[in-house]
């Protein structure tokens, strides 16, 4: 009998008092646990995963970084010298500037398109009833189930100057001459958006799930028009979802290889295909490594920077 009221009061504490002090108190370890000497067991248990992580990610990354400092000559191959010559070469050659600029322009456009298409898509999906919701979700996630090469080759078939899209547009009379999709940024952006939109949809979907189901009704009852409800109430609360989706999409778009390689071809190079060519065509491994490292660093800087900016702007929804 006595256990019931004490259980109740604990539950009330949890639900009514959400001040940070009580949260800290609740998550603190029980007083009976020995606090002076931390147990080594958790570390030992995570050792295999840490070892895997180190061997498969950190070691190759470090080797790439070291490789990027080596020299290269056409006749003697990789030279065991340490210099920043590769970085200086990239920094001083407008060709590399163009490739990097293109890479991030594409990644930015893809992220923007994915957000503009994916966020409303997730919202509409959430408002659907089963079975349509499940069917539509499957269609949205479909691209992830198909091999990147066959999917991209499918786009190539659609995009060609005699492809389905151009033929349809010509037949309708919207255009007089075929639009160039193949080997253009437009084509790469369209194909990449198609591949990456599911990540945005899933991410926004997750933050929509956390929305109070009555909150839109609350805004309506206060006299807000449906569009105002979306703009003032729903959108600010799904910003974290859009942001995390954007980070995934941007990172994947900036380092995408297969789609730019097939749709962009040899002429329209991005950082990933450039690094690939340096490694496998010119065999200039150090330069390729430098490009890869620069891509990584730029990616991290852009993503962390944007993250900070948006988190500061929408401080309240991130807590």
């Amino acid at each position: 009998m006595t256990a019931v009221p004490s259980d109740d009061s604990r539950r009330y504490d949890m639900t009514t008092d959400t001040s940070p002090a009580s949260t800290v108190a609740a998550s603190a370890p029980p007083a009976s646990a020995p606090a002076d000497r931390p147990s080594p067991v958790p570390y030992l248990l995570s050792l295999p995963a840490l070892a895997l992580f180190a061997v498969l990610l950190l070691v190759p990354l470090a080797m790439t970084a070291l490789l990027s400092l080596n020299g290269f000559s056409f006749y003697t191959g990789i030279q065991d010298v340490w210099s920043l010559s590769n970085y200086i070469e990239i920094a001083s050659d407008s060709y590399f500037h163009e490739v990097f600029l293109r890479t991030f322009r594409i990644a930015f456009l893809v992220t923007l398109l994915a957000a503009v298409l994916g966020a409303p898509e997730a919202y509409i999906l959430r408002r659907m009833n089963s079975p349509w919701r499940g069917i539509c979700l499957l269609i949205v996630l479909g691209p992830l189930l198909i091999s990147v090469v066959s999917r991209t080759l499918g786009w190539a078939l659609l995009f060609g100057s005699t492809g389905l899209i151009n033929q349809a547009l010509l037949a309708v009379g919207l255009i007089a001459t075929p639009i160039e999709f193949m080997y253009t940024e437009t084509g790469v952006v369209i194909a990449l958006t198609h591949v990456l939109v599911p990540f945005m949809v899933l991410s926004v979907w997750a933050s929509l799930q956390r929305l109070d189901p009555q909150i839109e009704n609350a805004a309506l009852s206060l006299g807000a028009k449906p569009f105002t409800v979306l703009r003032r109430v729903v959108l600010p609360q799904v910003i974290p979802g859009i942001l995390s989706g954007s980070i995934i999409v941007f990172a994947l778009a900036a380092s995408a290889f297969a789609t730019p390689a097939i749709i962009g071809g040899r002429r329209l190079k991005v950082a990933a295909t450039l690094a690939y060519d340096e490694f496998l065509n010119t065999l200039n491994w150090p330069l390729g490594a430098a490009i890869a490292i620069l891509l990584l660093v730029a990616n991290v800087v852009i993503i962390v920077g944007c993250n900070r900016l948006i988190e500061r702007r929408y401080k309240q929804v991130f807590e």
Binding site: T16, T18, D212, Q214, N217, L220, G223, T228, P236, V317
Partner: protein
């Protein structure tokens, strides 16, 4: 003149009849509770008044005007949701100001009204806080202020106190009553908590399975329940099986050998007698015989369980110094005829 009129309101979800021909009139300035167990249709009714659900049939008029032709954002109702549904990315003041902003109230007036309303709900100093930095009771008050500030012609409260702990709930009940007196808004409160409904309302509407069981003032519904369901739902009650007899001009009910005069219009035959535990006392003779199964001390009162030939009975006696029976003691229980109600039928048949 009737202010809000619900006329044979019906809502069907597939084969399930959630609200079944509900009719109700609410006077201006009244606080009415829709009371019932979960699934009785009370929230569905509220959602239809708010406009979030379209009724299958029936009409709703507010101050003589058809409410159903209006969209939810044009009805001008204030709603307090069970989850509060505060906007987490806005401060308390911004939450309260939202409705005024939607009505195009100029900034200066808006600020003044927000400050006034926050003060009314006792949150004068909390305007800059974000909802997640507030306790449940404070969030509740913000939700109330947000609904009140637009001066709604009707305030709908959907289980507003169910997320609060017992002590806070009592405080908010008093607060709600005070605010209702101050602003005089017509309120409809949906609740499954009979104590809350009785404490707050001018009238309660007891609902069961989509139908209205009784509409009455709280004490009337408690003392003179229209059905066994109402008797049971509004606090604890005893249901005893008896037999109604026509005895010349008078009707009587025979409960386990003891006979009481019946005022209710019931046909002769099997009858169910209900009486509240606090109205039952231990008598010397002419009562229903029984055996005390258990007695529980509850501070201000004693609770007895008495086994009688007509069924188990609950008896509540004040802890006022009287000598009370012990466990396993043979007793007689009785009550005044006006404290009981008799309905035709068998116990457990409803």
């Amino acid at each position: 003149m009737a202010y809000l009129v619900l006329d044979t309101l019906t809502k069907r979800f597939g084969p399930w009849l959630a609200v079944d021909g509900l009719s109700l009139t609410v006077e201006k300035g009244e606080l009415i509770s829709l009371l019932g167990p979960s699934g009785c249709g009370k929230t569905t009714t509220l959602q239809m008044i708010a406009g979030f659900l379209d009724p299958t049939a029936g009409r709703i008029t507010l101050d003589g005007a058809d409410l159903l032709v209006k969209k939810p954002n044009e009805r001008g109702l204030g709603i307090v949701f069970q989850s509060y549904a505060l906007f987490p990315h806005m401060t308390a003041a911004e939450n309260v100001a939202f409705g005024l902003e939607m009505r195009g109230v100029p900034r200066a007036d808006r600020d003044r009204m927000v400050t006034e309303t926050l003060k009314l709900v006792g949150l004068g100093a909390f305007g800059d806080r974000y909802p997640r930095r507030m306790s449940g009771g404070q969030q509740q008050r913000v939700a109330l202020a947000r609904a009140l500030v637009i001066k709604p012609n009707l305030l709908l409260l959907d289980e507003p106190l169910s997320n609060l702990d017992a002590k806070m709930r009592e405080e908010m009940q008093i607060e709600l009553r005070r605010i209702q007196r101050t602003v005089g808004t017509t309120m409809i409160l949906v609740t499954h908590d009979q104590a809350e409904a009785m404490a707050l309302s001018d009238r309660v509407v007891v609902m069961n399975k989509g139908k209205v069981e009784q509409v009455a003032a709280p004490q009337e519904a408690y003392d003179r329940p229209a059905s066994a369901f109402v008797a049971n739902f509004l606090g604890r009650t005893n249901l005893l099986q008896g037999t109604v007899r026509q005895d010349g001009g008078a009707r009587r009910i025979d409960v386990a050998g003891a006979v009481w005069p019946v005022v209710d219009a019931v046909p002769p035959g099997p009858g169910v007698m209900t009486v509240r535990p606090e109205k039952v006392s231990f008598v010397a003779d002419a009562g229903v015989p029984g055996l005390v199964q258990a007695r529980v001390f509850q501070g201000t009162q004693w609770l007895f369980e008495v086994e009688t030939p007509a069924g188990p009975m609950m008896v509540i006696r004040q802890n006022d110094g009287q000598v009370l029976p012990q466990e396993n003691e043979r007793v007689m229980v009785g009550w005044r005829p006006e404290d009981m109600r008799v309905m035709a039928g068998q116990v457990g048949a409803s």
